[in-house]
């Protein structure tokens, strides 16, 4: 009975203690960025990374390190407005944001950020202006011609190439500009960015031919040759396996389309033609599936399996695997 009488005040006391206690802290690894120098140091480590050849680095949470740095810098700007009011780190933050933005292909924003850093004067001014100029050129090049990420808005859209020749001329202009820029930025971290942009232009060119292959004469041949060109020109790229996969996918699509337009049981079906398409697709998938330590390896082996399963639909007297 006495215990019962004590229970109520004890319970109240426990509640009171719980209310006063500090809320539990999460895993210290995941606490927010502590200061500007932390973010700048991590970003700086990866400024010279060759992101053309190798995947961009990831931070301790698995995010793209450039994107994570940008977001953390923005959070610091917003949350520590008071501490930053003196402006002693304004140019540092703006410059660092420029370095992050240019790796995320936001060249116009990067250029603006560099200019903001330059406006503050100080030791970073000259480098900021130089970087702003390079980002302007990169932005100018990125806006030339067809690109798969720019949705065409109607017939009058200047991004809409009227025909393959116009597209090719735009693509050539873009690559020429980038190659000239590559000479200018030799031995700087921009070298990798420019190579990525050239690859991007080549990808856009190939994707145009792949997208329009059914509407143009010899469209399939052009699409194949453009994807082969992409593979050949960017063997060193981190995306090399992906390019090979795209080429394999196109061969696989052509094989499927061939069986749709020339049913295997019909007299029009030509086994060697089908065999050539199957051999090409399988060989390319197999090449990628043999690359240890890449995620494309799993993709390629599954796609190869799926593709070979499709060939089971074709009679054995028309196709012998």
């Amino acid at each position: 009975m006495r215990w019962r009488a004590l229970a109520a005040p004890l319970g109240l006391a426990a509640l009171g203690l719980a209310a006063c206690a500090k809320p539990p802290e999460g895993d210290p690894r995941y606490r927010p960025a502590q200061n500007v120098l932390e973010v700048v140091a991590v970003l700086r480590r990866h400024v010279n990374d060759d992101t053309y050849r190798f995947e961009p680095a990831r931070d301790f949470t698995g995010r793209n390190v450039y994107r994570a740095s940008l977001l953390r810098l923005e959070s610091l700007e917003k949350l520590d407005e008071e501490e930053l009011r003196a402006g002693h780190l304004d140019d540092v933050i703006a410059f660092a944001k420029g370095r992050a933005l240019e790796r995320l292909r936001a060249f116009d924003l990067a250029a603006a950020s560099y200019r903001k850093a330059a406006d503050r004067g100080g030791e970073l001014r000259e480098e900021a202006l130089r970087s702003a100029s390079v980002c302007d050129s990169l932005d100018e090049a990125a806006r030339i011609g067809f690109d798969a990420d720019r949705a065409v808005q109607g017939e009058d859209d200047p991004n809409r190439p009227p025909d393959a020749n116009a597209m090719l001329s735009g693509s050539n202009r873009r690559v020429a500009l980038l190659e000239a820029l590559a000479q200018e930025v030799k031995d700087t971290h921009y070298e990798a960015i420019v190579r990525e942009e050239i690859e991007r232009a080549d990808e856009a060119r190939a994707s145009y031919f792949v997208a329009s292959r059914r509407l143009t004469p010899n469209g399939d041949v052009h699409a194949l040759s453009e994807l082969q060109r992409l593979v050949a020109r960017h063997r060193e790229s981190k995306n090399a396996n992906r390019h090979v996969l795209e080429l394999a996918d196109l061969y696989a699509a052509l094989a499927e389309e061939y069986t749709a337009s020339h049913p295997p049981e019909s007299l029009l079906f030509d086994p060697p033609t089908f065999q050539e398409l199957v051999d090409s697709a399988s060989r390319l998938y197999q090449n990628v599936a043999n690359q240890d330590g890449t995620s494309e390896r799993i993709e390629a082996s599954r796609r190869l399996e799926a593709f070979l399963a499709f060939t089971l639909r074709v009679d054995r007297d028309r196709f012998t695997p």
């Binding site: 606490r31 700048v40 953390r72 917003k78 660092a96 970073l124």
Partner: protein
């Protein structure tokens, strides 16, 4: 009179023997014939149709015109004519069973057709090939197939238990204690197998598909309601099987703290069995863990407010870090001196590591980072960044390589000691401790296999170790080809490639050595050339083979294999023909009609086994593309085992059409009559035959993918004089000796049904 197949084979053997004796006695070989090896084509006199032929025509016409009454009437007429033939003492024409089959095929109802076919098979005047076709037709009945698969499933289930128990029981005579222990283990094994087994196994799933096929084709059949019940029951079991499978994945994903995978798998399980209790629980748990992880990740993107966020002392180092050639080391040291235990100490050390790396002191840089990574994350904000770098195989491939190499050494040692059990007990979807307990006796067994594994270790093919370290070593060389460990990585990779027999890769790596050893390089070049040549020679496609072989000849001219590649390339070029469909001499002897006046029209003495009057080489005849055939003859000097003398003949379209028609018909018929004499599918062969029959083979296709290398070979060539037969008994007797325990056992083992060719579709 046509000799039966065994008789023909016996005759061929006698002829060969006689030929051999003749050769020994006389010792003279005539070589290829002086004139044409082909006889003039036999002219075909038009056949005058008799009453049976007319009746057969009328049966076919009535069937095609879908005239059941006409069909019945013409069949009656055909039967009457056949009867008259027999009464007059003639042999049956053989047409009647075909006509009856045609009548059956014209029936509207598939089930009636089957019943009529069964009745037709009772006749004793059916051609063997037709009988085989009719049996195939009956075997394709969905219900019969389903019954067979259900029988297979029952056999598998029973055999798994029986075979597990029979083995230890069989040892009971020689070693009772061991047998008792074995029996106990077998019982545990049976229980575990039952626990792991799918509710519906592959043959049952095949039966389910066949039942569905039957009901779709015959919804009105009296058997349909019963079959539908079976479908419902099996379908439920199949869904539960799938649920169990994905739940197993979900469970282990949750155990391994992979909530995204666990969530996906649990949702899949719920799609199979909605509101399943365990799947719902796993989904809830996985969702909560994911939400927690996302919140933690999101937290890192924020910033801590306070004066430490923007300390003015940070500016100098920050600017140095951002300038392309900033004095990072100087500024970091200044900061550390100015404020040794200050709030920016970690940042300064991290920056120092960066400066060390950029000045070429990679090892020192990684040592600094490792030191930072060891700090308590609660006290050091840079520890997490250092951990991310040190642990990343992309950023720090050397450490990844050394760690993987250590693991790999452990794996090798583990394999030698414990074999396949070295990676721990097999996942039995049970608590781990129980899995260890159940499989503990297997570890004792595994130890007894150490001598065997030690002996086989150096010759293991394919080499199963070293793939992970190799990946990281390559990554290190890609990132830092002149790094401090580049030579060590290269040398290790070279050894790895050499161990697994990839000499071409080993040579490439040896070439990159700082101080290559010429003798070692020469040895590797020889081995690489031999390897590439072997790959080239095994290539099926002519164009790819030519490219590979020529590459060896071009790149390795100073090696034995390179010189051989040159010869192979030259021979290939000389022998290159658009087609390579071969008909061996043995096939022609076993099927004389193909070579005879109805087919190719080969001079008979070229197949009579007498070398004195010229003889076809065992390679026989090759359809070389277009209307050209290659005839290989036994050379005047050298005998049958020597290289043949090749002669090319251009034949007429008619001769070619006759040859391929007869060849295809004979091979197909042989395959129907004798299942061992199968005709393997070959699209390019069939296409060539199709065009040859139509007289369109004049222009051979130059494409490599159009070339067929199919070979029609005789049965004796394939199986020898006596063909081994697979036992038809469902049980085999096994005699087993056990060296470590000096035991001997004999026990019966039930044969497992072989997977059907379509089992691949049920994986």
């Amino acid at each position: 009179m046509i000799a039966s197949r065994p008789e023909r084979r016996g005759l061929a053997a006698l002829i060969s023997l006689a030929a051999g004796l003749g050769l020994t006695a006389c010792g003279s070989v005539a070589g290829p014939p002086a004139g044409s090896p082909l006889e003039p084509l036999a002219t075909r006199a038009p056949t005058v149709p008799d009453d049976v032929d007319f009746a057969a025509h009328d049966v076919a016409a009535a069937a095609l015109a879908e005239d059941p009454q006409g069909l019945r009437a013409t069949l009656r007429r055909l039967k009457r004519l056949e009867k008259e033939r027999l009464e007059e003492g003639f042999q049956p024409s053989g047409v009647l069973p075909f006509a009856l089959n045609l009548r059956n095929a014209s029936l509207d109802d598939d089930l009636r057709d089957r019943r009529a076919t069964e009745k037709l098979l009772d006749r004793d005047d059916i051609d063997p090939a037709l009988r085989a076709s009719l049996n195939d037709l009956l075997a394709d009945d969905p219900l019969a197939v389903a019954d067979a698969r259900i029988w297979d499933a029952r056999t598998i289930r029973f055999a798994e238990v029986f075979n597990n128990l029979a083995e230890p029981a069989g040892h009971a005579m020689s070693n009772v204690p061991m047998a008792t222990a074995g029996l106990a283990r077998a019982l545990v094994g049976v229980a575990v197998a039952e626990h792991m087994a799918d509710e519906l196994i592959v043959p049952e799933r095949q039966a389910l598909v066949e039942w569905k096929r039957f009901v779709a084709a015959h919804p009105e059949s009296p058997q349909a309601p019963e079959i539908e019940q079976r479908i419902e029951s099996a379908q439920g079991a199949w869904e539960r099987t799938q649920r169990d499978r994905v739940l197993r994945s979900a469970r282990s994903a949750l155990q391994e703290n992979q909530p995204a995978l666990a969530l996906a798998a649990s949702e899949q399980a719920l799609a199979y069995v909605p509101e399943d209790g365990e799947a719902t629980h796993i989904r809830r748990e996985a969702t909560a863990r994911l939400a927690e992880a996302r919140a933690e990740r999101q937290r890192t993107l924020g910033a801590e407010s306070g004066e430490q966020a923007a300390l003015p002392e940070a500016r100098g180092l920050a600017v140095a870090l951002l300038l392309p050639h900033g004095d990072v080391a100087g500024e970091a040291t200044r900061l550390l001196t100015l404020w040794p235990k200050g709030p920016l100490e970690d940042e300064a050390r991290y920056a120092l590591a960066l400066a060390q790396e950029e000045s070429g002191h990679q090892d020192e840089s990684w040592a600094t980072l490792r030191q930072l990574a060891d700090a308590d994350p609660a006290r050091s904000n840079m520890a997490r960044h250092a951990i991310a770098l040190v642990d990343s195989p992309d950023q720090n491939p050397w450490d990844a390589f050394t760690a993987a190499r250590t693991r790999d050494r452990g794996a090798r040692l583990g394999w030698i000691l414990l074999g396949p059990l070295s990676s721990g007990p097999r996942n039995l979807d049970l608590p781990r401790a129980l899995e260890w307990l159940i499989q503990a006796p297997s570890y004792l067994d595994a130890l007894s296999g150490i001598p065997n594994r030690l002996i086989s270790y150096p010759w293991m093919t394919p080499w199963p170790f070293g793939r992970a370290p190799a990946t990281y070593a390559r990554r290190y060389l890609e990132r830092d080809p002149t790094g401090p460990h580049a030579e060590e990585a290269r040398s290790w990779l070279e050894d790895f490639e050499a161990t697994r027999g990839n000499w071409a890769a080993a040579l490439e790596l040896a070439d990159q050595a700082a101080k290559p050893d010429p003798a070692h390089l020469a040895d590797l070049r020889e081995k690489a050339a031999s390897q590439l040549l072997a790959i080239g020679k095994s290539e099926r496609r002519g164009d790819v083979r030519a490219t590979l072989v020529r590459r060896v000849a071009r790149e390795f001219p100073d090696t034995e294999a390179g010189r051989e590649a040159g010869k192979v390339a030259r021979q290939d070029a000389e022998r290159q023909t658009p087609q390579r469909i071969r008909i061996s001499r043995e096939f022609l002897r076993e099927n004389p009609k193909v070579a005879g006046p109805e087919g190719l029209g080969l001079r008979p003495e070229l197949l009579d086994g007498d070398l004195r009057n010229g003889e076809l080489h065992p390679d026989g005849i090759t359809l070389a593309g277009g209307r050209v055939i290659e005839l290989d003859f036994v050379a005047e000097h050298g005998g049958e085992s020597a290289e043949p003398v090749r002669r090319f003949e251009r034949i007429s379209s008619e001769r070619l059409a006759r040859l391929v028609s007869l060849l295809e018909a004979t091979a197909t018929r042989n395959a129907l009559v004798d299942p061992d004499d199968e005709v393997l599918p070959d699209a390019d062969r069939d296409r060539f035959f199709e065009r040859a029959r139509l007289g369109l083979a004049e222009e051979p296709s130059p494409r490599a993918t159009a070339q067929s290398t199919y070979a029609f070979r005789g049965m004796r060539e394939r199986y020898g004089l006596v063909r081994s037969r697979e036992s038809i008994l469902p049980v085999e007797l096994v005699l087993q000796g056990d060296l470590p325990n000096l035991g001997l056992g004999a026990f019966p083992r039930i044969r497992m049904p072989k997977p059907t060719p379509d089992a691949i579709l049920y994986r």
